[in-house]
């Protein structure tokens, strides 16, 4: 399973590698809007930009969503078992697992504290 990986304190002047295992990947952000249907979305002020900026527009979980065309480059690690996760935690100390910004490929984020 892929996780976005980041640190509690970020490098703001450069895109430093977060940890040894991390590699950069272009991810597809999901753009959720809190209206129930595509028909309802058509009446909204943001609709044209939303339509133009994404593909695969659909209704999901009582909202509308699309895959953004513009990719986002993020540091990602692949961890496939609890053992690997514990090994990662042993190596970097305290970590926090949270929901990430929603991407098509990744939904969770590990923050090294």
């Amino acid at each position: 399973m892929k996780f976005i990986v980041s640190r509690k304190r970020m490098s703001v002047t450069g895109d430093k590698k977060v940890c040894d295992e991390a590699r950069q990947e272009d991810l597809t952000p999901l753009d959720y809007r809190t209206v129930k249907s595509l028909e309802e979305a058509k009446k909204k002020v943001w609709y044209k930009d939303w339509l133009k900026g994404g593909v695969n527009h659909r209704e999901e979980d009582g909202m509308v969503v699309c895959d953004k065309k513009e990719k986002s480059r993020q540091w990602v690690v692949e961890i496939n078992s609890l053992e690997e996760l514990l090994e990662f935690q042993d190596k970097y100390g305290a970590i926090m697992i949270t929901n990430s910004i929603p991407y098509k490929e990744v939904k969770k984020e590990i923050t090294i504290l």
Binding site: R33, T34, V35, K44, Y47
Partner: protein, 415 residues
């Protein structure tokens, strides 16, 4: 035992806050959402904002035409009125937005990153609104700008204010442009320059009050420190307020990092409320044993003509209620954080008004017992003044709505 009592008190406040949320605000909430996110209504609100700015400009120009002394209710004894206090309200908010955004963008604290773009944009907008408002309080603003450069008076706090705020606005605008261009290295440098000039400008603004020997209520080192502390509180409230509305305008689902950002900003804001309450308490206590003119102001504030403003708006609406709401909801209820921010913004507006006006209500010759100046002086804003400050608010509202559309919800890098 003590823990249990504390827990039950907190949960009681939380319960109260939740019921407040569900009962009273559900209707207002749904009406507001419907109004903000619909196409036609969005443009109606925007048009109202622009119309307000237009009417305010006419008012300001009319005041220039007939003369400020006829248009405004300011006098020789109370020369600073609601226009000055609103200018301070806007620049305090701008500096606060800059400080809060710099925690993420300059110091690299990840939790603050999602709010950075919107905060920097709003910092530029609010400082511009502040300049626009004070434009109509200065008799010849263009001459001021010219002689600021041609004939600088380095010993004048007002000269430093104009210069430092000018530099601050420039750096913040550059930072925002660089953020849009995704040039984060130079945006950080511009942000740092903006932060330094902003803090210098803002503490200097406090010093304008703090270095006035003739006004006992303001005089002393308290003001520069207070201005910076209250700026952080204002900035926190403003970013919560505008982020919440921004998400409603765009019908966006607030993701986990943004919710976390609102949570940490709420915590910071609650902490700053506590700090300002502490400052206010000591201002009152020391004022009560201070010189006679200062005591007169404190009495006017506590039990006199400004008591309703002080207790009602500054203390209860501006600090106690927001603090209770934030603490009671554990900083995790975004809607309640928004409610707290609304109350704070209202309260802070009155805080600035009271700070400016109360400092002048005791006549300078009070201690000499001059017959003409035995009582407190009075000031109430005129229609021209009210229209001008409403125009400042119109500028912020219009620019915010346009910004949400043009910059598509102010998405930060990695957000």
């Amino acid at each position: 035992m003590a823990d249990e009592i504390r827990t039950s008190k907190i949960s009681a406040i939380g319960g109260l806050a939740r019921s407040f949320n569900s009962a009273l605000f559900s209707d207002i909430y749904s009406t507001l959402i419907g109004f903000l996110s619909g196409t036609r209504s969005f443009y109606i609100i925007l048009s109202l904002g622009v119309l307000t700015v237009f009417v305010a400009s006419i008012s300001g120009l009319d005041a220039m035409r007939i003369g400020y002394r006829h248009a405004y209710n300011i006098t020789r004894e109370i020369p600073w009125g609601i226009i000055i206090s609103t200018y301070i309200f806007f620049v305090v908010t701008s500096t606060g937005l800059c400080i809060v955004s710099s925690i993420g963008h300059v110091f690299g604290i990840k939790d603050f990153m999602p709010i950075v773009n919107r905060a920097v944009f709003l910092a530029v907008v609010t400082i511009f609104a502040g300049f626009s408002v004070i434009f109509f309080d200065i008799e010849n603003p263009f001459r001021m700008a010219i002689y600021n450069a041609l004939s600088p008076n380095l010993r004048s706090n007002l000269w430093w204010m104009g210069t430092l705020y000018g530099a601050y606005m420039f750096f913040m605008a550059i930072e925002f442009i660089l953020l849009l261009l995704k040039n984060h290295r130079f945006a950080t440098y511009a942000g740092l320059a903006g932060l330094i000039s902003g803090v210098a400008a803002h503490s200097n603004l406090g010093a304008i009050f703090g270095m006035l020997h003739s006004r006992e209520f303001w005089y002393g080192p308290y003001m520069p420190i207070y201005f910076i502390a209250s700026a952080v509180m204002s900035g926190g409230a403003a970013i919560i307020f505008f982020t919440w509305i921004g998400y409603k305008v765009n019908n966006e689902k607030m993701d986990a990092p943004m919710e976390r950002a609102i949570e940490v900003v709420s915590k910071l804001t609650a902490f700053m409320i506590a700090v300002i309450l502490f400052f206010t308490a000591w201002k009152v206590v020391t004022g009560l044993v201070g010189s006679p003119p200062k005591r007169e102001v404190i009495k006017a504030m506590l039990v006199g003509p400004y008591a309703a403003n002080f207790w009602g708006f500054e203390i209860i609406i501006g600090m106690i209620l927001p603090f209770a709401i934030l603490l009671g909801t554990g900083f995790r209820n975004v809607n309640m954080s928004f409610l707290a921010s609304v109350l704070m913004i209202i309260g802070i507006f009155f805080m600035r008004y009271d700070l400016v006006v109360e400092g002048q209500i005791v006549p300078v010759f009070h201690e000499l017992g001059v017959n003409e100046y035995r009582g407190l002086l009075h000031y109430l804003p005129s229609l021209h003044e009210i229209m001008i400050i409403t125009g400042g608010m119109g500028i912020v509202a219009s620019a915010f709505l346009i910004g949400e559309r043009v910059f598509n919800g102010h998405k930060s890098e990695g957000h």
